[in-house]
Symmetry: C2
Subunit: 318 residues, 2 copies
Amino acid sequence: MVAERAGTSIATVSLVVNGKDRGRVSAPIATRVRDAVEELGYVVDHAASSLARGSGDLVVLIAPDLSNPFFAEVIRGVRDTVGDRFQLVLSVTERGAQPVAADVRRFERLRPAGILVDAPAAGEAMTATVPVVLLDAPGGSEAVNYDLSPGVHDLVRHLHEQGHRRVGYLDGTSRATTFGVRRELFEQACAAAGIAVSEVTARADLTVDAAASATEHVIEAWQEDGVTAVVAAADTLAYGVLRVAGQLGIAVPGHLAVAGFDDLPSSSVTAPALTSVALPGADLGRAAALRLLATLDGIAPESASLPTHLVRRASTGA
Amino acid sequence: MVAERAGTSIATVSLVVNGKDRGRVSAPIATRVRDAVEELGYVVDHAASSLARGSGDLVVLIAPDLSNPFFAEVIRGVRDTVGDRFQLVLSVTERGAQPVAADVRRFERLRPAGILVDAPAAGEAMTATVPVVLLDAPGGSEAVNYDLSPGVHDLVRHLHEQGHRRVGYLDGTSRATTFGVRRELFEQACAAAGIAVSEVTARADLTVDAAASATEHVIEAWQEDGVTAVVAAADTLAYGVLRVAGQLGIAVPGHLAVAGFDDLPSSSVTAPALTSVALPGADLGRAAALRLLATLDGIAPESASLPTHLVRRASTGA
DNA sequence: CTGAAAGCGCTTACAG
DNA sequence: CTGAAAGCGCTTACAG
């Protein structure tokens, strides 16, 4: 239709709308085509275009839980980076489960330009016929990760300075590898610093409610065990600890110091404000998108490891 | 490849993988095809399939702000309803802006089976070549909406019973129509009940921080104006009011009652627990998805209006 | 019950 | 600089 109206061929229209007309199509014809496109409100068919070209302009981001403010940040970083060149679409897994290989498979069918997978389940081989970049998947070679070491070491040193010698750890139930790494690094750093990690263990789903109820179950045991500080694997979990402490009248940080991971925006406004190992979500999204773009442009992506640092706030007496 | 391995034709394979083989393909051949599909890990190409068929199996949900727990609920409802029949993909607008017609246009290219638009900007004509269902867009005919009346009237009656005669209203800055409706209904109901709505107005983006800082600006004026209760257009906003009241030592509900809209999961656990007009997000998502499915099946969808009700909690002295 | 063939709307060598 | 033609991987009447 457009070709007919512009008095030219379909091939020429294709060149013009794809911006490949430089030096291939004369200016007057290109203008006629653009006018026709405008008047007809023509928009290239995505399916046909993807089919002919072999892949489309979609970038898929698969994440476990979009309602988590952390992922909102990641999404922002990805979007800012892929910009107008690609169309970003999101997919959430069922009930916050970690993305698995089958999720990638399902989106491969869409022939996206690339797939980003945030916090994939451990041990899943995320290979596809399109480029895949993993976010926050320690161990994967195709991944963009945080370097948790500096943040964790700062945290442990800070706790030590504040006089804590026995701490509790509230872990997540998530299958994401990053939680294993957080815990391991933390325990190693504690051992090195002469801080004992209580044998009383607790874990919860990544919600305030779940964390609160897990905390209720172990808080007495922690107290009896001489724990003076609790570190949670995520800020959301730490909020649960804060809530229970508040309800039980346990002074924070006086009787119990609390810290988390993520440094969510709301962590500066909890009561008391939460000390946290900052994992800049937008940076992660940006780095992952850059890596994907590099791959698509045929450039060997450099492996990215994003710095982390400790944000000291009132919950640990800072 | 699959056809070759199964010793049959491409057409037959197509019938089998699309489950259209009943009475058209013999059992042994169908089995051979399925085996071949299994062994080769074959998955139908979405682009080619969409192109040949005219439309695909994608359902697109465009929403302004996925990090809002309310939308997380909506998404859950949609997903539960579209199930395996369609592939749900999400799109977030830039910086939480209300979805506009251009967003719909952009996703039309994907040839989805249908498009769901949550909280679209007011006055946008959301027409497309594929079925579009609007969520929470009062006034639109293709929309699934809440019937806010019962909830708002219960709220006003409740405030009246608690002795409030002068209230403040904290509005959202969102362009979504629903906020206008909330305010209007509330003011009408107040007028009818003999409650004055303070002229001191405040509005904020839908975040706790923004609401808190907006509240800080007007709280004194409200107090001077004799306001004894504040109603916020969303629970997220009400959290900001609660925070400021807490910081200033204003007793809730003793000196100031607070209520919101949405009844987010976290509203039962704020301090104090928040009275709220419940807008069941999952129900909205479910109703919208059902409406889309009905349209796709050629059934005239019945217009849906979802009931709302008041959840009374401690923040208004309940 | 099965398969050859047209066609979905594009893109891209290729020939002119 | 321009256009005719092949082909992307499917689906679906249609003929057998």
